[in-house]
């Protein structure tokens, strides 16, 4: 039995009066690939953003790797150095070249030398098949290319866990595949992956488990083939039949 990379126990989150996360209990093993889905507003982003401390929760306990997520800034920055995140809107730094986008975080976060960081960056960009654009600025490349740069930028830090929040939903259909392809390769390695997505094909191909959320709660957790065809709850069955058709 592999050890757990992420453990949430009794997680609660309130936005003022709004109850965004209700008693979340979830354990994700190291090396596992977990896809999170559910209707809009169900708290998927909130949950995944709690995992690297971008969002604070109100109650409960959340452990990531050997750290506890909380107010302790030193712990948070230790987590963020080992947990990468890819966003829906890429969030590349527009005032830097693609290469510098990948080099600077290594220098600032890990204290790597520029030379080593540059080598690493080129290597990751090549792996994402985007190295020929290294000297360009983010505004000069397509959405799919931007997302692959964002992924390379994260991978440069050698993370053990990757969080994805709808990485393909801001992309044109023809670019979705190129991003999913590289994510699929990643999932086959021993990286721990938590991915919010509605790409059911991707989930079927690589997910060990699918987490279905609604109204701030985890309704069901099951392997993809089970949950897509034989979900226990009516709400999950309705959801999956609507996204798969």
């Amino acid at each position: 039995m592999a050890e757990a990379a992420i453990v949430a126990q009794g997680l609660q989150k309130h936005y003022g009066a709004y109850h965004a996360l209700r008693d979340i209990n979830l354990s994700i093993e190291a090396g596992e690939t977990v896809v999170v889905c559910g209707p809009s507003g169900s708290g998927k982003s909130t949950l995944i953003r709690c995992m690297n401390g971008l969002e604070a929760f109100s109650e409960g306990q959340l452990n990531v790797l050997e750290y506890e997520v909380g107010d302790d800034l030193a712990q948070l920055s230790a987590i963020r150095k080992r947990v990468g995140m890819v966003f829906q809107h890429f969030n590349l730094f527009p005032h830097m070249t693609i290469l510098e986008n990948c080099v600077l975080p290594q220098v600032r976060s890990l204290g790597r030398g520029r030379e080593e960081a540059t080598e690493k960056a080129r290597q990751q960009l090549a792996r994402m098949k985007i190295d020929m654009h290294a000297e360009k600025f983010p505004d000069q490349i397509s959405g799919g290319q931007k997302q692959r740069v964002a992924l390379a930028r994260s991978l440069c830090l050698d993370p053990e866990v990757m969080l994805f929040d709808e990485p393909t939903s801001a992309l044109d259909p023809e670019m979705i595949a190129e991003v999913l392809d590289v994510m699929r390769d990643l999932a086959r390695e021993d990286m721990t992956i938590v991915c919010v997505t509605h790409e059911m094909g991707f989930a079927k191909a690589v997910a060990d488990r699918v987490v279905f959320m609604a109204e701030g709660q985890i309704i069901e957790v099951a392997p993809p083939e089970t949950i897509f065809t034989a979900a226990k709850s009516q709400i999950a069955r309705d959801f999956f039949s609507s996204v798969q058709s």
């Binding site: 969030n91 527009p94 975080p105 994260s154």
Partner: protein, 363 residues
Amino acid sequence: MTDVVTPSEHLPPPQNTWGEWIWKSFFGSVSNTLFTLAFGAFVVWVLSSVAGWMVLDAVWRVEDRDLCGHGAGACWAVIEDRWRLIFFGLYPYEEQWRSSIACLALALTIVLSCVPKFWSVRRLPVLWLAGFSVFVALMRGGFAELTLVTTEQWGGLSLTLFIFASVFLIGMPLAVVFALARRSSFPVIAKGMGVFIDVVRSLPLLAILFSAAVVIPILVPDWLQSSKLARVIVAFAVFFAAYQAEIIRAGLQSLSEGQEEAALSLGMPYWSVILDILMPQAFRNTLPSTINQAVITFKETSIVTVIGFFEIMASGRAVIGTDEWGAQFVEIYVFLGLVYFVFVFGLSRYGAWLEKRMRVGHG
């Protein structure tokens, strides 16, 4: 995601109709033609009389000064006679070479720090330290063969440049700190800074400088006393920072939240998120306002006259104050205007160039 503010562009009419368009709008109808001719004549008349006054009919040499006023044009003889007073103020006559070298050194420092090659955390401080040291050492003297000249005797263009450069240099980092405090997650700091900025902005600059020059020495113990010029510059810098902080804050607000989140989730330390990611973009997005603020500050330096400093405006007025050249006030003001114009116009053009450069490839 980028939220770069691009100025709205007025599209010119299509190329092939340019000539047609000009012809139509200037000579399209009888009234248009009449107006064009009348206005054209007016422009020619204004230009020729300005040129006549400023150049053709002007009196240039002090020897010819008797010609001044008798139907002749501008009497530039006053400048030849008194340029030293205008440029150096009350600085001792025999030592004025020091003031001119100091002035050049400072101008060079300012120009060099506008060159992107010098924009690094290591080069800029070295450049500024060198520039200001040379300036102060030369102006003040008091070592080797150089006699001591206290700041009360500094004056003219050197003083104007020195005040502007110091205010900008102290004020800019201060503005960054103010802007960050303003968006601090501690409500006490954020609110406190907000109130402070609003108070500073609601006070007239004159009142602030006057307090720094006159009131503080009464309140502060002797051992904390600094020169009047230093106090005035610091007070001016705080005033500048209050305005510039709001500009920077607007720049920060124009960025998408994702920028900060991405940097944080890459484990970058707070200072780096601010200095490497947010500030460069905030500055880029607010460059026109920042240049505007710099221009205003340059022109406002003349206000220090009121508290007894002899910067270039005051020196110019001192020339008019004498019986000898009292009649030449127009010439003096035109000349001062030209000096200001050179600096302010240079600053504006630099701003335009910078904006264009920063847009290249990543707008």
